[in-house]
């Protein structure tokens, strides 16, 4: 009897161990998958050579660096721009030199492995070691060489809107809002809320616009644009069914520097007949007759039909300035997309980029899993991501994926730029 009991107990404890081990495995699986990928690469012995077009650009950079060095050493002129250019170029040049030396080494080893049977084993061993370093270096050089995103150095706006799913979608929008503010706070970036509309009857957000004032933040956050999907049991659900809801995230570049001195700087970039400005309170005499606190402003950009309304500030002028800033950003984003479409059509090659797919990410609460559909990246830590602490990892993964995609498109079309 005792034996049997102890046996059962042993089984139970084994089972719990297994369970915890499983969950541990699941937690770590994304690390494992990364690791596996790298192993597979090195197993395949693929040498990531850069296409000839990029090598010529790198050569051109080297030449430019030499001339710049000459002018700087003469010391006639000193300006910040050329200093920055110099440091950027010398960084690229350093990586390029490293790449070249590694490449010659690899080629040497391959030749040795092919020609001399006695040295073959040693050479392949050496190759095994050197190829990952070479690939890493190649990736790094590639990152430096491909042209950066046109708005990469800009600050940005994040716009959030609930999608399908009613109140649950609004709650999820609130969660996303918290995630981004957490991420921004973690990074110690400056930000402020441009507008935020709470759901008056219940919880959640009807929409929000956040301004992230850090220059270059657009480059990181642009991967967030798209439809985010959530799968979980809502708080309002009584029968325990899992619902699927969505929220849309729009990331726009800020096209200038907003300051109090030039509150209407954005306004002056538009022709007066392009914009219609409406204020609330269209009836009544106005002026001293009324003292309204409703200072909502609505802008309509007539050529494109874009409408922006703003009502968060007590001052109408400030609402107006903010609305113009948002309008400017939306137009810039639209122009950029159109331009990209044109370029893509010209290439006649449908390259999948990160912002083409609409549904970009799924937050699955019951499985404690977040999947990014563009790069197939999984992370099993909902709380960590939703607090903004581990969002960085997803953003990095998508960033890497985008670079790979661009590399592919460049390598498959070596003559087109």
């Amino acid at each position: 009897m005792l034996c049997r009991f102890s046996g059962i107990r042993l089984e139970v404890s084994n089972m719990t161990k297994c369970c915890s081990f499983n969950s541990f495995l699941r937690l770590r699986s994304f690390h494992a998958s990364r690791f596996l990928n790298e192993e597979q690469k090195s197993d395949n012995d693929v040498i990531k050579r850069l296409p000839q077009t990029l090598i010529t650009t790198a050569d051109a950079y080297t030449k430019k660096l030499l001339t710049l060095e000459d002018t700087l050493s003469q010391g006639q002129e000193f300006n910040v721009e050329s200093q920055q250019e110099f440091s950027r170029l010398s960084l690229i040049n350093g990586v390029f030199e490293h790449y070249k030396s590694l490449l010659t080494e690899v080629e040497e080893l391959q030749r040795m492995a092919n020609s001399d049977p006695s040295l073959k084993e040693e050479a392949t061993d050496e190759l095994q070691l050197i190829i990952p370093t070479f690939n890493e270096c190649s990736d790094k050089l590639f990152e430096h060489l491909i042209p950066p995103h046109p708005f990469a150095d800009k600050a940005c706006f994040i716009e959030l809107h609930p999608g399908v799913g009613g109140i649950e979608a609004m709650n999820f929008t609130q969660d996303l809002y918290n995630m981004y503010t957490g991420y921004i706070n973690n990074k110690r970036w400056k930000s402020h809320v441009i507008s935020k509309q709470k759901n008056e009857s219940g919880s959640g957000l009807l929409g929000a616009i956040l301004s992230v004032d850090e220059l270059g933040s657009y480059n990181k956050l642009r991967f967030e644009a798209g439809v985010h999907r959530v799968q979980r049991i809502p708080e309002t659900e009584t029968k325990g069914r899992i619902h699927t809801s969505t929220a849309a995230v729009i990331v726009l570049p800020q096209m200038g520097n907003e300051s109090d001195k030039e509150m209407d700087a954005y306004e002056r970039t538009f022709k007066p007949d392009e914009i219609r400005v409406d204020v609330k309170r269209a009836s009544g005499k106005g002026g001293q007759h009324v003292n309204t606190t409703d200072s909502a402003v609505r802008l309509t950009h007539i050529p494109s039909g874009i409408v922006v309304s703003m009502q968060d500030e007590r001052s109408q002028l400030k609402n107006r300035a903010k609305a113009f800033a948002v309008l400017r950003a939306r137009l810039a984003e639209k122009e950029r997309k159109e331009k990209e479409e044109k370029e893509r059509a010209a290439r006649k090659e449908q390259v999948t980029t990160t912002d083409r797919s609409d549904k970009i990410r799924t937050y699955n609460y019951p499985q404690n899993r977040i999947t990014d559909h563009r790069c197939g990246f999984n992370i099993h830590d909902i709380d960590g991501v939703m607090s903004g602490e581990r969002l960085q990892e997803i953003i990095e993964a998508v960033g890497k994926y985008e670079i790979q995609q661009r590399a592919k498109s460049l390598q498959s079309l070596p003559t087109c730029k």
């Binding site: 509150m263 400005v277 409406d278 005499k285 002026g287 001293q288 009324v290 606190t293 200072s295 109408q316």
Partner: protein, 312 residues
């Protein structure tokens, strides 16, 4: 036993309350003002009940129609924070709009060099002082205004204007004077020639006061700053016109505009040497809001300001 139905009761309560335009936002702003004043400490997890009750009291007052700006204590006006106190008119967004436009056109003219610097600015019926202060703030990096003088008849307004100058850190920028004066009686207030005269006089006529004015304004804002007909416009034409180079007067109806227009036409016929141009300006709401006039010396500021009626 006859009893009052709940519907009637609710209706009578509702009629006593002037509901806010924008309840949720206003509650948020009141909360923010409590945080700013330090009544509510945001960082502490548990908020002191006194803070909450203070906020609730403010909300209750607002429900009874007390203007939000009196409760919060200030109102944004361009890039300024204008303090607002009882017995002084709260700056309106329409005023903010035309003053901002005027400041912009002064700045453009000074960049183009089409006006001379060292102008005198005089503001009548200044109230909170918002008009001259915003113009000063916008042009403080240039030396366009040599001297600014603000007049009012109400001692409360004068005190508040003085406080607003300090509150917005403009006391060292220019020679800024605040003076008591009864505009309608005096004519020797300013010895030099006035380059620009601005004024937001009371312009709601007595007959329309009951019907056209919002309840909250009627009950809580000073009638001294609201009720008037043509007095200030007559005063402008009869007393000030020979002493000024330009003027901008806010107004509430076409009657006032037409009066000024006819008088200016008469003036131009009588004094061909000192002709005045005239224009009107509308607000974003499509209502007539300003009448402005100018002679040859200050002409360039007003060329793109509003709609010109009389050209010179």
């Amino acid at each position: 036993m006859p009893r009052v139905s709940t519907v009637t009761l609710a209706g009578s309560i509702r009629s006593r309350l002037v509901l806010a335009d924008f309840p949720a936002k206003e509650m948020g702003w009141l909360w923010q003002s409590c945080v700013d004043k330090g009544v509510i400490q945001k960082k502490k997890k548990k908020i002191h009940p006194n803070g909450i009750s203070h906020w609730a009291r403010l909300c209750n007052w607002r429900l009874q129609g007390v203007p939000l700006q009196y409760l919060i204590g200030w109102q944004p006006f361009g890039s300024l924070k204008i303090l607002c106190r009882n017995h002084v008119l709260i700056p309106r967004w329409e005023t903010e709009e035309w003053v901002n436009d005027l400041g912009q056109s002064i700045l453009t003219c000074s960049k183009l060099g089409s006006i001379k610097s060292n102008l005198n600015l005089v503001d009548f019926c200044t109230g909170t002082g918002c008009i001259p202060l915003l113009l000063l703030k916008m042009t403080r990096h240039t030396n366009i205004f040599k001297q600014i003088c603000a007049f009012d008849i109400s001692p409360d307004a004068l005190k508040l204007t003085q406080r607003n100058v300090v509150h917005n850190h403009l006391e060292h920028s220019t020679n800024f004077k605040v003076q008591y004066a009864n505009i309608l009686n005096g004519d020797n207030l300013f010895p030099e020639k006035i380059d620009m005269l601005t004024c937001n006089p009371p312009y709601i006529s007595k007959n329309t006061f009951e019907s056209d004015v919002e309840d909250s304004v009627k009950r809580y804002e000073p009638h001294l700053a609201l009720v008037g007909d043509l007095e200030f416009y007559e005063n402008l034409i009869q007393i000030w016109l020979p002493h000024i180079n330009s003027f901008v007067y806010e107004l509430g109806s076409y009657k006032q505009f037409n009066y000024v227009k006819e008088e200016i036409i008469k003036h131009n016929n009588n004094f061909p040497n000192n002709k005045f141009g005239l224009g009107m300006k509308f607000d974003s709401n499509g209502q007539i809001r300003c009448v402005f006039g100018f002679n040859e010396k200050i002409k360039s500021i007003f060329q793109n300001y509003g709609q010109l009626i009389i050209q010179i």
